[in-house]
């Protein structure tokens, strides 16, 4: 690096000086210096993650093996909490409901934004922009859930009002054990947030591929199957992973809309964790159930990672 003119007689530029110094330093010492200094930048994020992420997680896992009291010392009880969880006849019900909800979410709500996004890409750019604005306006989730709850009301809801006006028989909606879970999932269809991510990915696919395919005489469906979907695969894999993790921990929709009813048809694992911990003050059992959920989610993720490869060349 050249020393600026006029500076020769003055104090050397510190940066130039240190660079010269660094240039004179042996490579090993430089590497050690780099190794030490990078922790200064890692430390804040790492410590926050440790304190607010890992520490509560590990504590929660430990609580599952304890009789936990808010202010008294806890007692180690081994696997007693897990035994009680497995003995409880509500446990298979909540696991079944949660898996059912997740399957419905993946099957109905997860793939719709993908289809919509792919179809959007076939439209004019102005149309795409308008549709994106219309569909991707942020919606306050809780407000939406409460409004949908009353739409579903048997006697005073909008949906049955429309059905009655059109001369159709009314439906039980949230009061039917058969379709209550479906009713919880449907509001998610209007939340097209993930579509933004898919559209961004689709816009990065090289157009030459589609042009080449057109020259080959491929149909729209073949283009989607052989070009679009493989390019979307990494994003779909990631979104599916997040979807599984999020939906297995569903709480807001059933808690607000049905309270777990009718009967126990929409009672989920996290609702039971909440009941055990904050209603019964059985934090140990709540922790044990949360740990079982954690392990189940890990298993599902492993299965998903095994059978849904991100690598587009596989």
């Amino acid at each position: 690096m050249q020393i600026p003119r006029g500076w020769e007689a003055t104090r050397p530029h510190p940066l130039c000086n240190s660079e010269e110094k660094m240039a004179k330093e042996p490579p090993k010492q430089r590497a050690k210096y780099v190794k030490r200094i990078k922790w200064v930048f890692y430390a804040p994020g790492f410590s926050l993650n440790l304190v607010f992420g890992w520490y509560p997680l590990i504590l929660g896992l430990i609580v599952g093996f304890q009789a936990y009291y808010l202010i008294r010392p806890s007692e180690f009880v081994g696997f007693t909490n897990f035994q009680d969880i497995f003995y409880d006849s509500l446990t298979p019900i909540v696991f079944r409901n949660t898996l059912y909800y997740t399957a419905l979410q993946i099957g109905l709500v997860f793939f719709v934004p993908i289809i919509i996004s792919i179809l959007l890409m076939e439209m004019k750019k102005s149309t795409i922009r308008i549709m994106m604005i219309l569909w991707f306006i942020p919606i306050a989730q809780m407000a939406g859930i409460i409004i949908w709850k009353w739409f579903y009301s048997v006697d005073y809801g909008l949906f049955n009002g429309i059905l009655t006006t059109l001369g159709f028989p009314t439906s039980q909606w949230l009061n039917s054990a058969r379709i209550a879970m479906l009713c919880l999932v449907l509001p998610g269809l209007i939340m097209f947030g993930p579509g933004l991510i898919y559209i961004a990915t689709l816009q990065n696919i090289p157009q030459e591929l589609y042009e080449a395919a057109e020259l080959e005489g491929t149909s729209l469906w073949q283009k989607i199957w052989h070009i679009t979907l493989p390019r979307l695969r990494p994003i779909i894999a990631m979104m599916m992973l997040l979807s599984i993790i999020g939906n297995m921990q569903v709480f807001t929709q059933p808690y607000v809309m049905t309270g777990g009813g009718p009967g126990s048809a929409t009672y989920t694992i996290i609702m039971q964790v909440y009941t055990l911990s904050f209603t019964n003050l059985q934090f140990g059992k709540g922790g044990a159930l949360a740990l079982i959920l954690f392990l189940l989610i890990m298993v599902l993720i492993i299965i998903q990672r095994k059978y849904f490869k991100e690598n587009i060349d596989v």
Binding site: S18, Y33, R36, I37, W39, V40, A43, S47, V51, Y55, L59, V63, Y68, Y69, L70, I71, R72, P73, S74, D84, Y87, D88, S89, L90, K149, W150, Y152, S153, V154, D155, Y156, Q172, L174, N175, S176, A177, A180, M257, T258, G259, G260, G261, P262, G263, S264, A265, Y267, T275, F278, T279, N280, L281, Q282
Partner: protein, 582 residues
């Protein structure tokens, strides 16, 4: 130079990390919260429900006159201003106790979680309703309420509490709580007087509404008459949303006399659910039939007990609703005679073909619960809610909190709010826990006053109901005349994980009501088993066969003397073999 800087930076970062971890470890759940040091001035934090500053208070006389004339008139701030006056008087009477008000409404949705977080963090207020922690039994067994046996035993006011109240203050023969007020909540039914008038439903005295001695059959008939499909109005509502099931099951307890729980004959656990007893199934069947057979009830998993059901009632969509503190609640909120005074206590009715808002007193009446199928109905006054005192405080603070609760809820604070001139009162004999002496005349006056809500001119509860809403007075008289069944808590028995159990009861009703062809027997068995394997699992070593013997023997005598049909058909015919484990 840069190496030195980075070296010191690194030491600083690592050092702060270490200190952070050590600090966190000291706050970890394994230890009890830190007890604050004992000071000459004892500070206690008391939950207040509005952020009023003392300087905002109006002149005392003006406040008392306003409270007397209207009662709480929708804007409850007046009552709480009276509360703050009492706090000021307390601080003069007890100069060594500093009361710090903290805005902490205990009825809002996050109250429970907030309290638990504060307890774990050592920042909880001096006292709190134990209902937020699952009841006194749960709070005491988990060390979340201080043992105040010594203080209660020396408390002269204790003799004025009945056995029921004393029983719910205790856990394993020790006192862990103070009642919120001397009386208790009565359970009843609210009904629309305007709809009853319209449908030609009058009691024996010619007042619109049901008679005080009505039965379940009358209830069904009245609900059917009050149902108008064209107006989408139903006779009653069956709320199915989970949570707040406590008052919902009042008919089980007081009308149908469904047992709170049965003894486990196997001995592995203490309790088993009574959900699949025949009497319980009859009540589940009633709920089902109200919707599908008699077609006089609306229902919904989106409808919760208090909020949505009450709103439907106020909007004129349902004609009756079971409500906690039925008559007394209505009486309190029927003081206003105009919509302006009523605040939020208004209902919708039709006048001259138009929908108008009117105050409660005009269109809402109170009735006792209907009698069960065997003519049964017990005194539907439940013991009062209980305050537990924060066990993390020092002994002096616990005593200070007890003094405060004594002042506010038992006698003193109530007197201040009611009538007594503050200056005169404070110049007289001041009370402290060690030498509680209140002139008998004042004590008698204060204890015959209504509960913690003030009423006009110091009239008795019943007298005030006659003024505000006569139907509630009739209902209250009927409730008071009903015989009081033995309370299990008096015999050391109580439902474990009560809220969780009631949620399961509600699940059973929910499943029965939402299926037209519901199999009631199967539903009852399913949820009984769920209760037995969930909230009822566990053995309480202190409950023996003697506890059960005493309770069921007394209960049998009570039923034999008061409800012979129930005694023969239900107790002896269906239950006795299940309960007689001694």
């Amino acid at each position: 130079m840069s190496k030195k800087i980075s070296k010191w930076l690194g030491i600083l970062v690592i050092g702060s990390l270490v200190i952070s971890f050590l600090s966190l470890a000291s706050f970890a759940q394994l230890g009890a919260g830190k007890k604050p040091p004992v000071e000459r001035t004892i500070e206690i934090k008391c939950p207040v429900y509005f952020g009023f500053e003392l300087k905002d208070l109006p002149p005392y006389r003006e406040l008392v006159d306003t409270l007397y004339n209207f009662g709480p008139r929708g804007n409850s701030s007046l009552w709480y201003m009276g509360w703050l006056y009492s706090m000021r008087a307390f601080s003069v009477a007890y100069p060594s106790i500093k009361v710090i008000p903290v805005n902490d409404p205990w009825w809002d949705a996050e109250a429970r979680e907030r309290l638990m977080t504060n307890l774990a963090g050592g920042t909880a207020p001096a006292y709190y309703p134990v209902s937020l922690l699952g009841g006194l039994r749960t709070a005491a067994s988990k060390g979340l309420a201080a043992d105040i046996t010594e203080l209660v035993e020396q408390w002269p006011v204790k003799k004025y509490f009945g056995d029921k109240t004393l029983a719910v203050m205790k856990y394993k023969d020790k006192y862990y709580g103070v009642p919120m007020f001397r009386g208790g909540w009565d359970s009843g039914l609210a009904y629309r007087k305007d709809f009853c008038r319209e449908a030609g439903i009058f009691d024996k005295e010619g007042n619109p509404g049901p008679s005080a001695d009505w039965t379940v059959t009358d209830f069904i008939e009245i609900c059917q008459k009050l149902t108008d499909p064209k107006k989408k109005r139903y006779g009653t509502v069956i709320p199915l949303k989970k949570g707040s099931a406590d008052w919902y099951v009042r008919m089980w307890e007081f009308s149908y006399l469904v047992p709170f729980a049965l003894p486990d004959p196997s001995g592995k656990n203490t309790y088993v659910s009574a959900l699949n007893t025949e009497q319980s199934k009859r009540l589940i069947q009633l709920n089902h039939d109200l919707v599908w057979k008699y077609k006089c009830a609306t229902y919904g998993t989106e409808i919760e007990n208090w909020g949505a059901a009450l709103q439907l009632f106020k909007d004129g969509k349902i004609a009756t609703t079971i409500t906690w503190s039925g008559p007394s609640f209505l009486a309190r909120h029927c003081g206003a005679k105009t919509v302006e005074e009523a605040g939020g206590m208004v209902a919708t009715t039709i006048k001259d073909g138009k929908e108008v808002l009117v105050p409660y007193s005009e269109v809402i009446g109170g009735a006792p619960l209907p009698k069960g199928p065997q003519g049964t109905r017990t005194n539907a006054i439940s013991p009062p809610d209980i305050y537990g005192i924060n066990p993390l405080m020092s002994e002096e603070q616990i005593q200070a909190a007890f003094e405060w609760l004594n002042w506010m809820n038992a006698v003193m604070g109530w007197e201040v709010m009611m009538r007594v001139d503050v200056d005169r009162r404070l110049n007289g004999k001041l009370m402290n826990q060690r030498g509680l002496k209140l002139p008998e005349k004042r004590l008698e006056f204060a204890l015959n006053a209504p509960t913690y809500y003030p009423m006009s001119g110091g009239k008795s509860w019943l007298a005030q109901m006659e003024i505000n809403n006569p139907s509630t007075a009739r209902a209250r008289k009927a409730i008071l005349a009903d015989p009081a069944a033995p309370l299990p808590e008096v015999y050391g028995l109580s439902i474990p994980n009560r809220q969780s159990y009631l949620d399961i009861v509600k699940m059973a009703v929910s499943e029965a009501v939402t299926k037209k062809d519901a199999d009631i027997d199967a539903i009852a068995d399913k949820y009984a088993q769920m209760a037995n394997r969930g909230p009822f699992k566990g053995k309480d070593a202190e409950i023996t066969k003697e506890n059960w013997n005493e309770y069921w023997t007394d209960f049998a005598d009570f039923c034999k003397n008061n409800f012979p049909e129930y005694y023969e058909k239900v107790l002896m015919g269906e239950l006795w073999d299940k309960v007689k484990i001694w």
